[in-house]
Symmetry: C2
């Protein structure tokens, strides 16, 4: 779909200007400077000033697109918003391959602008003419190459593809990249995403041989559910690093469930990015730090890192940083230690961190590089250097690149540099960027990048999730929902919720509505004592207030007494209430209280929550989230992610809880909320989980339908 | 004490070398280049090569220190380790003011080296001749100025004083500072700290008018208790920013208490730095980020920050970052909004973040600066700029500095720049460093620096802690410890621990050792039922095994039965046991379980822990720490710091717990462990806390004495 955008044969600039300092001039100038090899057509209906030829920057100007003799691969539109639709129609008539709309003045100005964007998208679809923007900086492509933007400067070619929902940020990112010699394959300012959005580009770059890693600045996602599905597939073979900014709540609907209170846009993004395998960057420097690692080095085969340093202090800092990042310090083979002992001075450390000492020249570093990379206990290498009196900065940089390039194999290991300093590091930085070694100013940033590489390697090695579907009884649920709606309600609790859980294979306490004391006793005898009894009446909302709840009923006589007393009191306190009898229920014994539920996120859909019940949710807010659907493995990860997981695994000699049953409940819940998009929130609270092998049971549930 | 170090009249270099590439040459060359105004004396006993004059770099060489005609303010020693003590003695004889020992080969090489260092320290003290090092890079002073180091380059003058326990890190830090135009007042490589340590320098710089902020890289602290006491006083008027690296456990003593298990060197440092008011940096860039903020700008009067930006996306990122850092986004006065409305285009945002739009030139930025700084709802200003098509980068930088310098007052507000980019930002960075505006590459780093400034301002405004001393009965505790030791024991529990807690005014359950059933009944009658009864015997360790513990005894007859039965069983199961009778104890009802305790940290002394008992400590490790002594305010902060604090404040309609009683218990515990340094660890577990006004009670306690 994006072929004509990333491989245009010719480019027209609609709104090319004769005046320096205008965007329409800057874009044309950038396009010419970019060494685009095809024809470039400036379009401008205004005649040239008297006495001048109708040319801009030496290119003949056309009054209209239709006048251009040949076909047009890509059109860039930089004219007032009111004229853009007309220009797009001309583009369609001319069968232009793709369009970039630079012009602003659309949805950011209000409802009318949004309408224009919708028409733009329709036209794009109808004519198979993809549109970037509007309200963007443009697109730069170093592969073709071309520069259809008004950015100041063009990045060097590289393996990073970048997209940004903020055009202004593009200018900042580009300026950093220019200074640090960081290259890009494609560089896209998304603008308002009227037609092309983040997913189109991710899909296009997934198969782009020039792109090894993608980075994105996003403020929102157009189609969250599809995004997760597709991005998950892409990230398995190419990393995506993203900044998501704006972490305020997405929806304004009042929420009434626990899950709803704890959910929110930020939680949803966190879950979605995790499930889609995106690596989340916390800042612009993070974005670059991770991207250059992936662009320049192979993925590590494991998480065991060796450190080589000429400075003790920074060596300790690197150790701290790697451990904090959850990586492990490689234990060097005895043979490696022996080799190091032979090539390093006696005072050097041959354990990890390998300290080559402050007076190390490049040869000593080099010997250490070779020894560490040859060690099969080492998966990756971080090299620390401080500019000391004898230090050979550039030679050491070259030695590191040489060692990285000539690894004996079979598995290549990633290498990172952390040369601490700046005034004397300009040349070594140039060497690193030329020779594809990621380089970081501090050990902490190197460690964060290495962590991301290890995470990506593990993610890539893991198969795509396998979603289960259980045999369930959708019809019953659909019927209950219909009845509830017919009743003018949208909230569901109590008896109805029991039937819903049962229909989806989630166990609930045995219970029965009994119309007489005899029936109550008979049922209690059948399920065994103790039992719980509750008055059953559609009119009595606060059962406890009328003495309408009794727990711990131990015998037939207690059951009989309870029945009679409840009916007597209910009639006395609410004489007009319709009374069906008593609900007799199995009393749940033992087990741990869990809460699980769902809140529908406006961007990503069903956001499922898991946590331990009571104070763990209310006070500690110790919960985890996933977007449904998810698979059994993810359900288990979700359970293990909470801080209080130890309580389920079993502490103080208690038996472990039935985690498989909890995971299955999460999966069944996930299926329920996926099958019925009209469920906007629900809680199962408590879900009692019993010891391993004894299952789980949904004791209480509330659910809200879409109004 | 450090006058002669930071104000020498003359400098001798013992070990000055004629050979370029030697340290003794480099130091002399640095000293000469540094424009030190006093005489510089190279000392070298070797005669010059035949035919050459006895000069190095144009300075006449002396064979021995004694030969130097005038007095010597500062001597720099750069000769083999074996000759250093001799040279130091010559320095003492010559009444040298201060010495820097560059030479390595001391404690880092083993026990002999450590001994030499001890002799060095003795000599320094005896002759009032402070010694820096050994094993260091040297000292640079831009105030004097002088450069007595072998660093490559000399920093520009500035208001930051720096010390580092890693000489290699000094070279990296210096190189960064050189590139970023960051100035220093004093720059010290601490080396092995044989004599002068971190605290000497902090104390010296506290009163140094050239130093506004201190930064330190530390691997350890020489005298932890004194460090906290002194640093706390210093940080109230001058910020200290520190990196502490090496977060592995300090001691190897096996620990047996909960507190001991959860404590450890990292927790101790965290508590110590907090109590001393140090700002902890996570990396070298953090160190600089915070230091330039303090060096260049006034402390903010509050935490309400205004953002001005020419880019929506980065404005959102700044908002996210400030909120994550716990700062608040200023709500602009209506008058300010009105002013902004008049000076900015219609599409601009006059709410915070103030968006001056992508086409803003410097005049528009300037108008926004003035409006924001004049608003008394604004305490600080962060300015974001991305290099867009119309952006006037340098003019905007100047406009910001102008606005910061010409604030109407009365309170000056700090201003920070975040100009996103690098290739086109070199000149603006120069302007910022010239004109004292802290500048950051990302909004996240600006936010972190602003957070540190707000923290420092709050700390400076708060008085020093006021330590309480309670009336306690030390004699009883001393007597118990003596008896226990006489007994060959070091562990204390049960009855003895009751007496210790009581002696320190910590309530324990009422209890009495009763020799007869009559006595037991009488005491139970007196304290009220229910009671707990336990067999009392020094020989029965596992009371439960012989049925020697009964809880919930409700009446005189139950008490009598329990007494007789316990005695019968005890005699039956352990016929040879000495049996004293039964312990009758008040049964604690209600309340919440707390655990508190102490573990003695090798660096900082008594590290006191607080947490909720049971799973909160065991599974969630939800605990807080302080070093004793601390005051009531800190005790309360310690209580409020745990994640599960909500449970003490009262949830689900429960009454709040008696936090004052808990705080007081922490203070009494703190006094106990301070009074008795021989206590190496202890737990009060559980400490029951009752509802507000009803106090707390130490139910069980164990304590370990130093062996």
């Amino acid at each position: 779909m994006l072929d004509s955008l990333f491989n245009p044969q010719s480019v027209a600039i609609i709104g090319a200007s004769r005046t320096e300092g205008k965007l329409g001039y800057a874009i044309l100038a950038n396009m010419i400077e970019s060494q685009f090899s095809g024809p470039i057509y400036p379009i401008n209906p205004a005649p040239p000033p008297p006495g001048e030829t109708n040319e801009i920057l030496g290119r003949p100007v056309y009054a209209a697109l239709a006048d251009v003799p040949g076909p047009i691969g890509l059109a860039v539109i930089v004219i007032p918003a009111s004229q853009v639709m007309g220009a797009l129609e001309e583009c369609a008539a001319k069968k232009v391959g793709a369009v970039i709309v630079i012009s602003a003045g659309f949805r950011e100005t209000g409802r009318e602008g949004l309408k224009l964007e919708r028409r733009m998208a329709e036209l794009a679809e109808k004519h198979h003419m993809p549109i970037v923007g509007p309200n963007c900086l443009g697109v730069i492509d170093t592969v073709v190459p071309y520069n259809a933007s008004f950015a100041i400067g063009m990045p060097r070619p590289g393996h990073i593809a970048f997209m940004s929902q903020s055009g202004a940020l593009c200018t900042g990112i580009l300026d950093v990249a220019l200074a640090q010699n960081i290259g890009f394959s494609r560089f896209v300012s998304l603008g308002n995403k009227a037609h092309l959005n983040e997913l189109h580009f991710l899909e296009s770059w997934a198969d782009d041989p020039h792109t090894k890693v993608m980075m994105a600045y996003l403020e929102g996602i157009v189609d969250g559910e599809r995004f997760i599905r597709e991005a998950r597939r892409i990230t398995k073979h190419k990393p995506i690093i993203a900044i998501k900014s704006g972490t305020t709540s997405g929806g304004s609907r009042a929420v009434s469930s626990h899950t709803g209170t704890l959910a929110g846009s930020e939680r949803a993004y966190e879950a979605a990015f995790k499930q889609a395998g995106l690596l989340r960057a916390g800042s612009i420097s993070d974005l670059f730090d991770l991207a250059i690692a992936f662009a320049r080095q192979p993925l590590p085969p494991g998480n065991r890192v060796a450190i080589i340093t000429n400075a003790g202090g920074p060596g300790i800092m690197a150790t701290d940083a790697l451990e904090k990042a959850g990586l492990s310090l490689a234990t060097l083979n005895p043979a490696t230690q022996e080799t190091l002992r032979q090539v390093l001075p006696a005072a050097a450390s041959v354990l990890n961190p390998i300290d080559v000492l402050g007076d190390a020249r490049s040869d000593r570093y080099k010997a250490a590089f070779l020894a560490a990379l040859a060690d099969d206990n080492v998966d990756a290498l971080v090299v620390i250097l401080t500019p000391q009196f004898m230090t050979e900065i550039e030679e050491t940089a070259h030695a590191l690149a040489d060692a990285a390039e000539t690894q004996p194999g079979p598995v290549l290991k990633p290498v990172m540099a952390c040369f601490i300093g700046e005034a004397h590091m300009k040349e070594s930085q140039r060497i690193f960027s030329e020779r594809s070694i990621p380089s970081y100013p501090t050990p902490e940033r190197a460690a964060a990048a290495m962590r991301a590489m290890v995470t990506q390697a593990a993610w890539a090695a893991e198969p795509l999730p396998k979603f289960e579907r259980f045999e369930v009884d959708c019809e019953t649920v659909a019927r209950i929902f219909a009845e509830v709606r017919a009743d003018g309600r949208i909230k569901i609790g109590d008896t109805e919720s029991r039937d819903i859980l049962t229909a989806y294979g989630i166990r609930v306490p045995q219970s029965k509505l009994c119309a007489s004391a005899e029936e109550a006793v008979a049922f209690a005898d059948e399920i065994g004592y103790p039992v719980v009894m509750k008055i059953a009446s559609p009119d009595i909302l606060h059962k406890t207030d009328v003495g309408g709840v009794r727990v711990g009923i131990q015998s037939p006589s207690e059951a009989r007494d309870a029945f009679d007393l409840m009916l007597y009191r209910a009639q006395k306190f609410q004489p007009n209430a319709q009374i069906w009898g008593c609900l007799v229920q199995e009393q749940v014994r033992g087990g741990k209280e869990i809460i699980t539920g769902m809140n529908r996120d406006p961007q990503f859909g069903p956001l499922v929550m898991f946590g331990l019940g009571g104070i763990y949710v209310e006070v500690l807010k110790d919960v985890s989230f996933r977007i449904a659907p998810f698979d059994r493995k993810e359900a288990m990860a979700m359970i293990q992610e909470i801080r209080s997981f130890g309580l389920l695994r079993g502490v103080r000699g208690e038996p472990p809880a039935d985690l498989d049953a909890v995971a299955e409940t999460l999966l069944r819940l996930s299926q329920l909320v996926t099958d019925f998009p009209e469920i906007v929130e629900m809680d199962i609270n408590p879900l009692m989980v019993f010891e391993k092998g004894r299952g789980a049971m949904g004791v209480d549930m509330r659910l809200v339908l879409k109004s």
